[in-house]
Amino acid sequence: MEGKMTAAPGKERLVIGLAIAVILTAAGFAVGIADFIHLFILGLNAMVPIVLAAVGEVLNERGGLFNIGIEGIMLLASFGAVYAAELSGSWFIGLLGGLLVGALVAYLFALIATYGAGNQVVAGVGINMLALGLVAYFLLVAWGSPGFHLLSNYEIRIPKITIRGYSVSWMIIVALGITGLIHFVLENTRFGLRLKAAGYNPFVTDVSGINVYRLRTVACVIGGVLAGLGGAYMSLDWLGLSASTLIQGRGFIALACVVFGGLDPILTLEAGYLFGLLSALGLWLQNIPWAAPLMLKGGSYLFLMLPYLAVLAVLTVFPGRQRLSKEIGMPYRRG
């Protein structure tokens, strides 16, 4: 069994901090302090779904599951949240609906991956395809709108808090809190330590009397709830719409954050902010005056590529840390 037990995130942390600082400083010099703060907050907004999904995936991978279905879970949850909110007229019920959908889909994945000993990548791809089909289908059935549905009124959008004239979502604080909580759980609680054991060596864990399947299932469902929260945030709070193309690969950006963060929740959070900032930058640059001539010629598409290219660039320049265990993504069979 190769790999390091403890993460040593010194170099990565420095690099991410520098990258964020450079982007924000450059923007600050280019456009002034007001826009600088605006960009900073846009980055926070864009960070939330990536970080929630990524931290959930950290739990999954610590337990030994490799769930690439989080993209689909986010998409289904974003739709489920809007549907529940429209039915009940309350954003809180909507949020709960999103969490429930996330938990159910993750439970399905966990059953296939643990008790069924299935191929996790194929199952994840299946969940993504299923999500795309179900959301597009039910958007049409529920509201007769092909492709997307705008929230019908502002009552069911998650209320924002206002700090010095900037409206900020309180989900940002929730995301930060959850990251800290997961970090604490993984390092300091019995559940977290057992989970890490199940991911590191399921055989020994099983022999010492711990139910690996149940542990992995619980972790996967919690991960699904977090991804569902990210999806519900996107539809009910940030963008205020449900669409079959809502997530746009954010689940996979979250996976890249997990790879880069080496299963450390705090470092994953930092990577999540960097990629969130870059995707916000892509949208923000489109409104910059000097970009106007390019915009006329379809330049917006070039800016939209920014976060994805950044993920590829970061993964190319800094090798993904060795996975903690070769067991991740491998089905465990008892006996």
């Binding site: 289908y137 059935v141 010629k297 993964l315």
Partner: protein
Amino acid sequence: MNLRYFWQTLKIAEGPVFAILIGLIAGMVVLGASGYNPLYIFRGLEYSFFTKHGIISALAMATPLMLTAITWAVGIRAGVFNVGAEGTLMIGAVMAIAAGTLIKLPIVLHHLVVMAFAMGAGVLWTIPVAYLKIKRNVHEVVSTIMLNWVANFLVSFLVVWPLRDPAWPMRSLKILPTARFQPLVAGSNLTLVFFLSLVFALVSYVLLWHTKIGQHIRATGFNPDTARNCGINVSRATVFAFGIGGAAAGLAGYALTAGLPPLWSISEKLGTLVNYGFNGICVAAIGVNHPLGIIFAAIFFGGILSSRSYMQMFLGVAPEITDVVAGVIVLILALPELSKMFGHWRRGKVTV
């Protein structure tokens, strides 16, 4: 080729057929839950398999599916999960448009040049994936999905600006008549490219099962450590698997531009290109990741896709119901209990 071997070969189909049944049942449940007649799904399939229009349309749909399925299947045989067909297909399509409109050549030569451009672009597009996988230990699913989105936006940009058709906004230029394929049956979009993709499937079968590099690819997928100890260059086999997959997806992009009458072009929203890559995964899973199985699976799945327009127009059902069916089929086929049924056959084949 005795009778028992034939019977065993037939048995492989058990798993996929079971998965297809479950998928169709799931589709019926979704239809029923949303207030439609669940049997509409069979009305759609009846159209695609028992009417002339339907069969032709199914074969046309099967053309790119066969190729994107081979992308996934070759990856699986080498032990990698290449979900990059979606983006590679788009790059192949846009390169076909570029070569088909900007280069002027006589008729057969032009076809070949455009095809070479599309396939070459597909191969080149997989280089970063192989590099990240081998040198940087990055999971190929992450890098291919990132490249899919890059390809999506890059191709949209190319369609909107450099390759824009001045006469038809939001669409690219049409491929010149010297590089087009005409429909085999008037009014359909079935062209000779169908046979091209059949040939590609057969070639990839020969490549995987009857050449040295194919043997290395399959050995790598079977057990990379053993393969390495046997002196096989595992990295080289992986690069080849990605490359063959890229060529297949690039050819699929070619099929969806040069072989797509009457458009011979792509739109800004890439409506004629999306989802073939992911549906290809389903096709490959149904065809047990074997090029010969994929040919049949692609024609079947082409039938499912061609029933979309029928169900939408005549029954008022949202066409995305077929994506639900495909997703459930893939989920069922991810379970190994079913693959055990055809495990015998595969083991018999792998130990050459």
